[in-house]
Symmetry: C2
Subunit: 222 residues, 2 copies
Amino acid sequence: MDKFRVIEVKQSIFENNDKQAEELRKELKEQGVYLLNLMSSPGSGKTTTLSRTIEALRDEMKIGVMEADIDSDVDARTIEQLGAKAIQLHTGGMCHLDADMTRQGIENFGVDGLDLVILENVGNLVCPAEFDTGASKNAMVLSVPEGHDKPLKYPLMFSVCDVVLVNKMDVLPYFDFDMEKCKEYVHMRNPKATVIPICAKTGEGMEQWFDWLRREVAQWNA
Amino acid sequence: MDKFRVIEVKQSIFENNDKQAEELRKELKEQGVYLLNLMSSPGSGKTTTLSRTIEALRDEMKIGVMEADIDSDVDARTIEQLGAKAIQLHTGGMCHLDADMTRQGIENFGVDGLDLVILENVGNLVCPAEFDTGASKNAMVLSVPEGHDKPLKYPLMFSVCDVVLVNKMDVLPYFDFDMEKCKEYVHMRNPKATVIPICAKTGEGMEQWFDWLRREVAQWNA
């Protein structure tokens, strides 16, 4: 029934991950494929955000999704039901993807003709931040229930992300979440980061996020 | 001003973590110190749960807290303000604690005379589950906003935990969280796990959790 394949990606044998990442990024640039590495904690709403993004942009650009997960295929099923090309990457217990694992995924997936590939990384604020995957840019979803202090506790994640989507804005009244402090802490880690408050469920703020992605994909192919 | 110390724990040189863990557990048993390894995602409410636990039990038993964090000391400050003995363990970017890192913490902390030591592990559902810390038991906090599907996506974490606290029950009406499914999925991973719905903020379910801890500490010293 399911069209998407499940690929077991193996831990890289390469010592120099940064070099592998640069090579992959260069090749994708030549192919005109923009790769977005999307990271977050478990349960922040990455898959819902992704679903709404596909629905909004699928008529403008060709989108593929690589879902990394330790061993389930819940997310690839969800994405495929939206009509997007999807593949599930199983990391076999590994807590992150590196550049070579990403390359294994890309090569199995086949990205020819795609404009935008979104890599949904393993839900984890620590390890994925340590490995350049070869993505064009890094994005993360931080949800309101997690709290505004997360950039203080997971500094590397926030310093490597170009855009931080603050999701679940619909439940803001029920949590002690200070958006100004959140922005201040994110900018302590990365002064250039774009912070966009969103609610994937209600659509709040999503246009700003779609515009960010549209600009990025257009510039990559310029 | 701050009385707690900050210890930089170094990655273990030991290959056999399980053996190191067994030795530490045995030594702590002889000293009559119950060590609870508390794990969760970032922002699930571990520190608030811990704070309420200390307030409830501090007159019955002597409690110490070891806060593991990548590099902040937000949590140790919070705990110390409750009058509990606290120490901050900095992992220097490491995403988990192993048995030797826990031992470094224990030895610097000084657990003599303590009945219960709670190790607040790094906020991460992946890596901490892979390393036995030498704790008497493992507990985790899963918060309602994270979703009931987490045991499907992070199987190892749920299979190593003896008790799962489902926190933030006060916001249940605002999320699509199915408690029955959550229990079913947890028990798929670990049929013996105790699942306790709580709200650290309002106190809901906390007595059941305190009773679980009281029984555990009493049995450890029996």
